[in-house]
Amino acid sequence: MMLAQSIADGILTGAIIALGAIGVSFGLQILKFANFAHSELLTWGAYLALVFVAFAGPGTPTAELSFGWQMMAAMALAALLTGCLAWLVDLLIFRRLRRTGAHPMSLVFAAFGAALIMRHVVVMIWGHGTHFYTRELQIALEVLPGVRMLPDQIFILGLTLAIVVALHLYLTYSRTGIAMRAMAESPSLARACGIEVESVIRWTWILSGALAATAGVFLGLTPQLHPEMGFSLLLALFAASILGGTGSLAGAVVGGLLVGLAENLSVLFIGSGYKTAMPFLVLLLVLFFRPQGLFGEKT
């Protein structure tokens, strides 16, 4: 009974982690560095949606959901703006470093710096306190015997699934998608084939930003926003993308789900005191036994 509930909770947490992990995975494979500022894009996405919600309101609850179409519009807008923000950060910081042929470690440290600045700008604008999209409180539905989920959570799961499928199709069939995958395989070969590297990088940032924003809004829906909301998920994001095998979409998604499940099930079997250590543990196990990740290929 409890097991089923824990698995359902784990899948939900996992879905949010997966959306964020896709961006981290892109960063590792296409941009070739560990972008520790990625978690801040989640935070920014959530807060940008809040701005729209503050103007338009969360909307009247539609169907069983705690919000209306306004929230959906806010999410789309936040995805767009966060995509642009990610690109802007690249223009201001990472592109310059790339051009000077900086060591990958320099990029990592620059990412730490960018993360700090981004987080504190959030504090500066919206303050240290917590915010809510909506003060509505939903009562969970019993979707399966012993499994209770909020309508919002079911919506989040459905939307995540749709996004992942769309992304898969995009990467497989669109020109940009194919170019992105080519970059991931071999940047120099991609360049030799006439792929515009800067354009691919731009699209990678925008896509990562948009996905992060969506994850951020989902995070904010369950149930509050605060300046450290993205940061507290950073390790889980990296664990998920490394677990799945960097650069692989399916890998990031499966990795996210596994991390989410590991966190939630650990409470059941080991005790909640160790919950925060679970991403570390998963990460260590993967690095020991399958360093290339579940879906990665040996290099």
Binding site: M2, T130, L137, Q138, P223, Q224, S272, T276
Partner: protein
């Protein structure tokens, strides 16, 4: 060879400098050492606390000092850092040879001072402000540590009694996995069954998590009929919302940190009409007023602020105990601290006149009962004091005081629980 010479030199020096019992006998002035975070993040609140200690020393000296000697108070800064604090305490105990000690604020500094300086040197230490219960319970203090403010035990016991009074059954406890959360949980677990409640689940949580559904699910699995949530407001909002969403009851008991509007607004006041919480209550009484007036007269501003009243009492208790003690050795002073509030004693209050009165009673071999700036000061077996608690509740989104649990009622509760 050189090493051996150095070592023997140290041994000789140690032998020469070792205190003899004769040296511990009253030699004027009597020294009381103090360590407080005068600078650092707690500097601003410490200013008044240090002034309060100084005021107490003046009252002690004006009222007759200790065994005919004036008291010299030597205060050092700990900067809120354990290493600095331990160094300062070491200097006071080993170089200045203080006969009693007061300090400090942060439990993180007080703990190391007890275990590495005052307890091994058998010097009585009284703190105004450190609440971590293990200090007085885990044996590290060997009975040499006391404090003049209530520990988390008071809040825990008050919470348990209110839960029992409201007839809450099958309680699930969700608590923050820190010293504070564990402390509170341990005492509630001790108290609640004896008062008529029962606990069906205990789930710790780590702060700053995006979601606590797993913890809430675990707590709900035991089909609890009430919840005790011990933690801090931000995460508590997430937990309570998830708790209610997943079908948890609205009968929720909360700790003092949740007595803020942010928490109530975050959850939504309409879901909290059956909730209540606990906090320390302010004491009133003539000895409290006398202290407040003396403080205002001297410093020209009011005595409001954390630790100001409890620090005064810490000093006064030391002064009185050192007079009661047959000599000024640690073990004697330690035993005397407990006679500062003796059964059947004559009540003595704050200020130099009352202190003088106390000394006359002590000289005549009569028991005293000290009522200080925080009301009656009576140490329990562990060296802790009890204070009154207040019960608050939420009515239409506003936090209101429900009732106060007096010290006498608290004492009765402790008796019932500790047996």
């Amino acid at each position: 060879m050189r090493k051996w010479i150095a070592l023997s030199a140290v041994l000789v020096a140690a032998a020469v400098l070792a205190p003899s019992d004769a040296a511990a006998q009253a030699s004027c002035p009597v020294k009381i050492g103090g360590v407080l975070p005068l600078t650092g993040s707690m500097g601003p609140i410490t200013k008044k606390i240090a002034e309060s200690a100084q005021l107490a020393v003046e009252h002690i000296n004006a009222g007759g000092g200790v065994k005919g000697c004036p008291v010299q108070f030597i205060l050092r800064d700990d900067q809120g850092q354990p290493t600095v604090g331990v160094d300062a305490a070491k200097y006071l105990v080993e170089v200045e040879r203080v006969q009693a000690f007061t300090g400090t604020i942060s439990s993180g500094v007080t703990g190391p001072i007890i275990s590495s300086i005052t307890a091994p040197s058998k010097v009585v230490q009284i703190s105004c402000c450190s609440t971590a219960t293990p200090f007085t319970l885990d044996g590290r203090s060997q009975g040499y540590f006391f404090r003049t403010l209530p520990t988390s035990k008071t809040q825990a016991v008050a919470t348990a009694s209110e839960m029992a009074r409201r007839g809450l059954k099958r309680t699930a406890i969700i608590y923050v996995n820190t010293d504070f959360g564990q402390d509170m949980t341990r005492f509630v677990k001790l108290a609640l069954p004896k008062l008529g409640g029962d606990i069906v689940a205990e789930v710790p949580y780590t702060d700053n998590q995006p979601s606590y559904r797993a913890e809430v699910t675990k707590a709900l699995a035991e089909k609890p009929e009430s919840l005790l949530l011990i933690g801090f407001p931000k995460d508590a909002v997430t937990i309570v919302r998830e708790w209610l969403s997943l079908g948890g009851t609205q009968k929720i008991a909360l700790n003092n940190s949740m007595r803020v509007k942010d928490f109530v607004d975050g959850v939504g006041g309409r879901f909290l009409n059956e909730s209540f919480g606990m906090d320390n209550a302010q004491v009133a009484g003539p000895t409290v007023d006398a202290f407040n007036k003396a403080f205002e007269d001297k410093y020209k501003y009011d005595s409001k602020g954390p630790g100001v009243h409890t620090q005064y009492d810490a000093m006064m208790v030391l002064g009185l105990a050192m007079n009661i003690a047959k000599d000024l050795t640690g073990p004697s002073i330690k035993d005397a601290v407990r006679q500062v509030h003796a059964a059947g004693g004559a009540t003595v209050g704050t200020g130099p006149e009352e202190y003088k009165k106390a000394l006359e009673l002590i000289k005549a071999g009569k028991p005293i009962k000290y009522h200080g700036a925080t009301g009656p000061i009576e140490f329990d077996a562990n060296g802790d004091v009890t204070g009154p608690a207040l019960v608050w509740k939420i009515v239409n989104g506003e936090i209101v005081t429900d009732h106060v649990i007096s010290i006498d009622q608290m004492q009765a509760l402790f008796k019932k629980i500790d047996g």
